[in-house]
């Protein structure tokens, strides 16, 4: 049984993390492409069409994997987490079903029209299609994050008939935790989308190919990156306050905070020592800062991990390190986006090739950022699947044997590994190739 729990957790982590390589780019890039296509509709300038089609191709390569790896997550709740599914299906299952009905249908249907409809519907309607896709993917994220938000902060339910039953749908839909998380996740996904565009645009500007097209792309992305990185900080601050309130163990693990204190300070340098329930090193402490961050009140009391029984605490080291790294990256995004907006607005990008190179090589950073963000959220929630209600270990399927999960884990690793290599190869190929040079024939084919 313990083996099945551990293996199923690893499998969930692998498949969810893999899925979330593709999702954030879809969330952010779809809006940028929609904007580009509307520019084409408004101006009739073929450059915008080439731009739309170039980023659209990369979008689709990425989108395909996002869709197919999403099915895994739905199936997996039943396959590996049958007890969890029975216990919370009344609530969690409903949110997933609503997601499929109101959002995923919309997204999957209109992406088909967008890919194949260039010569079958009007330009305007075609631009609407990608706009609907962008809206629908964001709606999808909302419902999924409301479902996840419920696991973090369960609301609107009672424990009855040996399970959690929904009693207040409105409370689920308005769960503040889900909404802050939605904002935080969405804006971080926009950062990723924007950095993706800036990195590839930087590559082409450095190579002096299609400079006008890529400078415009860069500018759009820079603006999105700046706005989003500020919103990520803001929503992250809000989110932190809520975590401190409703998930004190997660908050304490994020900060490696062991002793309950009023007016707690924030040590900039921390080396946790979880074995001895303390920090080996704490230095450069900003007085009262932790209380301020946690409760927006410099004198508030911040609970330490030692106040909680050991079996209720999440793993400290990984939660703490992920959180610190995430915050550092957040600061990096703001600084770099500021520079990106300034340089692209003043048309100084080509004069600063070092900055373009920085943008190119920064591409992995937002990808790492969104992954460790999820590590903070999910590892930090442990040992609970539903915070305070159901332990992860109690959610696993009873009928599944370790060997089955070993085989499926190996299968997922091989399949996903192969797909990742192919996807990376294709993205690189088309990113390097650049936009189609001449779309005159294509434009003739499309309808007005």
């Amino acid at each position: 049984m313990d083996d099945v729990v551990l293996l199923s957790r690893i499998q969930f982590a692998v498949t969810a993390a893999f899925h979330f390589i593709f999702v954030p780019l879809t969330l952010g890039l779809s809006w940028l492409i929609a904007y580009m296509e509307w520019r084409y509709v408004k101006t009739g300038d073929e450059m915008y069409l080439r731009m739309t089609k170039f980023w659209g191709k990369l979008f689709l390569i990425n989108f395909a994997l996002g869709v197919v790896t999403g099915i895994t997550l739905e199936f997996q709740f039943g396959m590996n987490w049958a007890e969890y599914s029975k216990y919370v299906g009344d609530i969690f299952g409903s949110l997933l079903a609503i997601e499929a009905t109101v959002a995923f249908f919309l997204e999957s249907t209109f992406i088909g029209v967008w890919i194949f409809g260039w010569n079958r519907i009007s330009k305007k309607l075609h631009a609407w299609c990608i706009t609907i896709v962008a809206f629908a993917t964001n709606m999808s994220a909302l419902w999924i994050l409301l479902a996840n938000g419920w696991m973090q902060k369960p609301v609107g339910y009672v424990l009855r008939n040996g399970r959690a039953e929904m009693v207040d749908f409105w409370a689920l839909v308005t769960n503040s935790y889900g909404w802050t998380k939605f904002l935080h996740t969405l804006t971080s996904a926009y950062i990723l989308g924007a950095f993706f565009v800036m990195a590839i645009a930087a590559y082409h500007i450095l190579k002096k190919s299609n400079v006008r097209l890529f400078k415009v792309s860069f500018r759009y992305a820079a603006v999105l990156a700046l706005a989003s990185s500020l919103l990520v900080l803001g929503s992250g601050d809000f989110h932190g306050v809520e975590i401190a309130k409703v998930q004190p163990t997660k908050f304490a693990a994020m900060e490696s905070h062991w002793e309950t204190k009023k007016g707690a300070g924030y040590p900039l340098i921390v080396v946790p020592d979880p074995d001895n329930e303390r920090n080996a090193i704490e230095a450069v402490t900003i007085p009262n800062m932790l209380s301020l961050l946690a409760f927006h009140d410099p004198n508030a009391e911040v609970k330490g991990l030692r106040d909680f029984p050991k079996e209720d605490r999440p793993p400290v080291m990984i939660t703490f390190l992920s959180f610190r790294l995430m915050v550092a990256m957040g600061m990096f995004f703001i600084l770099v986006s500021l520079a990106a907006v300034y340089l692209s607005m003043r048309d100084k990008l080509e004069a600063n090739p070092w900055f373009l190179k920085l943008m190119l090589y920064s591409l992995p950073i937002p990808y790492i950022g969104v992954q460790i963000g999820w590590i903070v959220a999910e590892v930090g929630r442990q040992p609970w699947a539903v915070y305070g209600v159901l332990r992860t270990a109690d959610g696993v399927s009873k009928s599944v044997e370790p060997i089955q999960v070993i085989m499926s884990l190996i299968g997922f690793t091989l399949l996903y590994g192969t797909l990742a290599v192919i996807d990376f190869y294709l993205l690189k190929k088309y990113a390097k190739k650049g936009p189609d040079e001449d779309l005159t024939e294509f434009v003739k084919m499309t309808r007005v």
Binding site: V67, G78, I91, T101, S399, G411, L415, F442
Partner: protein
């Protein structure tokens, strides 16, 4: 009417519509090696489902999600008991989606033929396994207080396999008729002919299925106690006969429509026999999962009913719109010159 019953019907409808729609996606893939002889023709097959397969697949996500939401216990046990079968379906669906998308984006013949093969296998496997899974649901699973007493091999019992073969043939004929109405030229003729030829074994297997059902399952008990239900299998058989009739006269659109009805009615035939079970226990009826002992709370079912009543018709409306936009027949000649399709 009780909400459990409403959701039982909706559950059946969602799965039936899923098989009706993704059924032809699987079908065109399975017959692709026989009807498409050149690269351009293979692209015709891909592009015939290109704009719609993704939207069709969401019916599966929704059917799965609805099972999760309305009957969480049945969802949990169905997926965990049939772990390996579900896993294989999952892998196949992943490869299927990717092969559609990636085939045209790489270079060289080997790249293309590798994805072509992947496309065929990854469509055959779920067709067979969904059939096996539903055959076993109709038959019941060996479960009692101690849990589940089966494995992948016990799912592959004769009745399960027969249902699997039935699904494969149903989808292959369905796909052939779909290509017959969505393409022109040689590929259309070949698809028509193949659908017509495959109809005979399909009819044989369908009869065998109806007979075997009497021995391997308790589905017909419901038909004995409520004889009016017999309309469902009668429509299924009539529709299947109509498929053969119209296919022989090259009235492909009518044949395809009849094939849609057949698939839906085959699912309904089984599900009507299941009621009120979702998964019967072959060991002890006490441990059968019924719509009453495995359902969500009535509150949740009510919320879900409102959501379904508002949004499912909207989905159907815009999906019909999409099918109308892409109703033009495709030909190998035109596809060969179109670099912007699959």
């Amino acid at each position: 009417m009780e909400y459990q019953i409403i959701w039982f019907v909706l559950w059946a409808v969602l799965w039936a519509v899923y098989f009706m729609l993704d059924g032809f996606d699987f079908g065109v893939a399975m017959i692709q090696p026989f009807v498409a002889k050149s690269d351009a023709e293979r692209r015709v097959v891909l592009n015939s489902i290109g704009p719609v397969w993704d939207g069709n697949e969401v019916w599966l996500i929704t059917a799965g999600g609805a099972t999760f939401a309305a009957f969480p216990t049945a969802y949990a046990l169905m997926f965990s008991y049939m772990y390996t079968a579900m896993l294989l379906i999952l892998f196949a669906l992943i490869v299927r989606g990717v092969s559609l998308d990636f085939r045209g984006k790489g270079d060289g013949e080997r790249w293309k033929s590798a994805w072509d093969r992947a496309f065929v296998v990854s469509s055959f496997l779920p067709s067979l396994l969904f059939g096996v899974a539903f055959g076993n649901i109709f038959r019941g699973l060996p479960m009692d207080a101690a849990g589940y007493h089966g494995n992948l091999l016990s799912l592959l019992n004769p009745y399960g396999l027969l249902t699997g073969v039935l699904f494969v043939l149903l989808f292959a004929v369905h796909g052939g008729l779909y290509l017959a109405i969505r393409t022109k030229g040689d590929i259309m003729v070949r698809s028509q002919n193949l659908a017509m030829k495959l109809w005979f074994p399909l009819f044989g297997i369908a009869v065998a299925f109806l007979v075997a059902t009497a021995f391997a399952t308790k589905l017909y008990d419901n038909y004995l106690s409520a004889p009016v239900l017999i309309v469902i299998p009668v429509i299924a058989v009539a529709a299947l006969l109509a498929v053969g009739h119209f296919a022989r006269r090259n009235e492909s659109f009518k044949a395809f429509s009849a094939s849609c009805v057949t698939i839906v009615m085959v699912v309904f035939t089984g599900v009507a026999g299941l009621f009120p079970n979702l998964i019967p226990s072959t060991l002890d009826p006490l441990y059968s999962l019924t719509i009453f002992n495995s359902s969500s709370s009535v509150y949740t079912l009510r919320i879900m009913t409102v959501v379904a009543l508002i949004f499912v018709p909207i989905v159907i409306a815009y999906q019909i719109w999409v099918y109308r936009i892409f109703s033009e027949r495709l030909s190998a000649e035109e596809i060969a010159g179109d670099k912007h399709a699959y």
